[in-house]
Amino acid sequence: MRRIDPATPTAVAIEFQGRPVQARDGETVAAALLAAGETVFRETPVTGSPRGPHCMMGVCFDCLVEIDGEPNQQACMTLVRDGMRVARQIGAGDIAPPSEPAGDGL
């Protein structure tokens, strides 16, 4: 993927996997990461296969990433924001509270 108009300034600073990525104001996380050469956005929950954006319109859920600690965000539907921290979604999202051992063995 490459930018059609490379001259437009990339003034928004985000982070992917701890590395800085420069993005344009008004573009999606998926567009910014693809322009930066990133193709692996997540690993699937069942087989751990790598996946990246496919539909770019919110339908395929293949571009899921973790954004500022929130799992399973659609990179293609989320606009970049200065200071945003993006990480690969590895496996299924984890939203449940930490589990405690069941007391009565059910």
Partner: protein, 368 residues
């Protein structure tokens, strides 16, 4: 006209289980599957193998459910060995969560009645504290729940695929896109007309879900079934947090969470509606508040095959022996009973003793 030992009309969970069972016993069986125009309750199923709510005031149904639940592991193994399909079956027990004290008291009374006529059925009433110990993240205002070690769950789509694949692997013949247009009794057997051909057999089983009523009326059988809509939501895949099915929340082996359900009398409208989706989501979030962060990726409606008392109907025609009908809304739970007990009896030209109280004759004096 092609001839078989048995014809099963219906390729859903009930029809496919019976056809699988008949073919398994060596009967050359033809399964006639209507196609995508059918309502296909089997494609909208929640996937519970559920004992703790069945036959509470109808002991034969409770026993039949128990028989099936006990045989489910065998069915799972048989399908896997025959086809490689994993139905996802497990039996970790199941919990029915009761949000308030009224629900819990009513459920306790129902399980007491079930236990009274079926003493092998064991259950535990879990108060809030006990329930919270089993279900991390339980909402703060949930009253309690009921636990039954007999409950389990499976993936209904893999079950359906496995039944179809196993049936065909053993030589069974399936015709898809074959809605039945006419049934006739003919020379001690039955002739079935479809859009794609004419077939005959000495045994005919009507297991066509909501289509069974009209088909059965052609041969003077009264099978009073009608539609009841249920809606289900499914979330994105999440890390496992639920190790056992909770009546209206079930996490699949792949991590998706199914949320149900509704009971709606809306005729043959199988749409999903925002008001019911909202109610299901609200209840799920009340039970597990952290689910508010989960994204729902699909919602659907499907039509249960409902009888007047919600218990199954099994029938053999008195006038035309060899003609059977089966209708129920528990195609997953009862799959093993249909594959083993029901199919064996049908192959012998009879109904299992266990289901003889479940004919439609029980409605003779009740309006439906």
């Amino acid at each position: 006209m092609a001839s078989h030992d048995a014809i099963v009309v219906g390729g859903g969970l009930v029809g496919a289980a019976i056809a699988f069972g008949l073919q398994r016993l060596g009967l050359a069986t033809l399964m006639l599957d209507e196609g995508d125009v059918a309502f296909r309750a089997a494609r909208g199923n929640f996937g519970l193998v559920w004992v703790q709510s069945k036959g509470i005031d109808f002991p034969p149904y409770a026993r039949w459910t128990w028989t099936s639940a006990e045989a489910w592991a065998e069915l799972h193994d048989e399908i896997r060995e025959l086809t490689g399909t994993d139905t996802g079956y497990s039996r970790p027990g199941g919990i029915d969560v009761c949000v308030d004290g009224g629900e819990l008291a009513a459920k306790e009374a129902r399980l007491e009645r079930l236990h009274n006529h079926s003493p092998h059925f064991k259950y535990e009433i879990l108060d809030r504290k006990a329930l919270a110990g089993v279900l991390p993240g339980l909402g703060p205002d949930i009253a309690g729940g009921t636990y039954s070690p007999a409950d389990g769950h499976a993936n209904p789509l893999y079950l359906l695929r496995g039944l179809h694949a196993g049936f065909q692997a053993r030589g069974g013949r399936r015709k898809g896109g074959a809605p039945v247009t006419a049934i006739r009794c003919q020379g001690g057997g039955f002739a079935v007309s479809t859009r794609v051909g004419e077939y005959q057999a000495p045994r005919l089983v009507l297991a066509a879900g909501l289509g069974t009523r009209a088909l059965a009326s052609q041969v003077d059988l009264d099978i009073p079934v009608g539609p009841q809509r249920g809606q289900i939501l499914v979330t994105e895949r999440l890390k496992p947090f639920l190790h056992l099915p909770v009546s209206r929340v079930r996490q699949t082996a792949e991590g998706s969470v199914l949320l149900g359900d509704s009971q709606e009398d809306v005729g043959f409208d199988d749409a999903a509606t925002s008001d019911v989706i909202n109610a299901i989501a609200c209840r799920a979030v009340r039970v597990f508040p952290f689910l508010a962060r989960a994204r729902v990726v699909r919602a659907w409606g499907a039509l249960r095959v409902m009888t007047p008392d919600s218990c199954p109907i099994y029938e053999q025609s008195a006038e035309s022996p060899g003609l059977f009908a089966a209708a129920c809304h528990s195609g997953v739970t009862l799959a093993a009973a249909h594959v083993y007990g029901l199919a064996k009896a049908i192959s012998e030209g009879t109904l299992p003793d266990a289901v003889t109280p479940m004919t439609a004759a029980r409605f003779a004096h009740a309006p439906h």
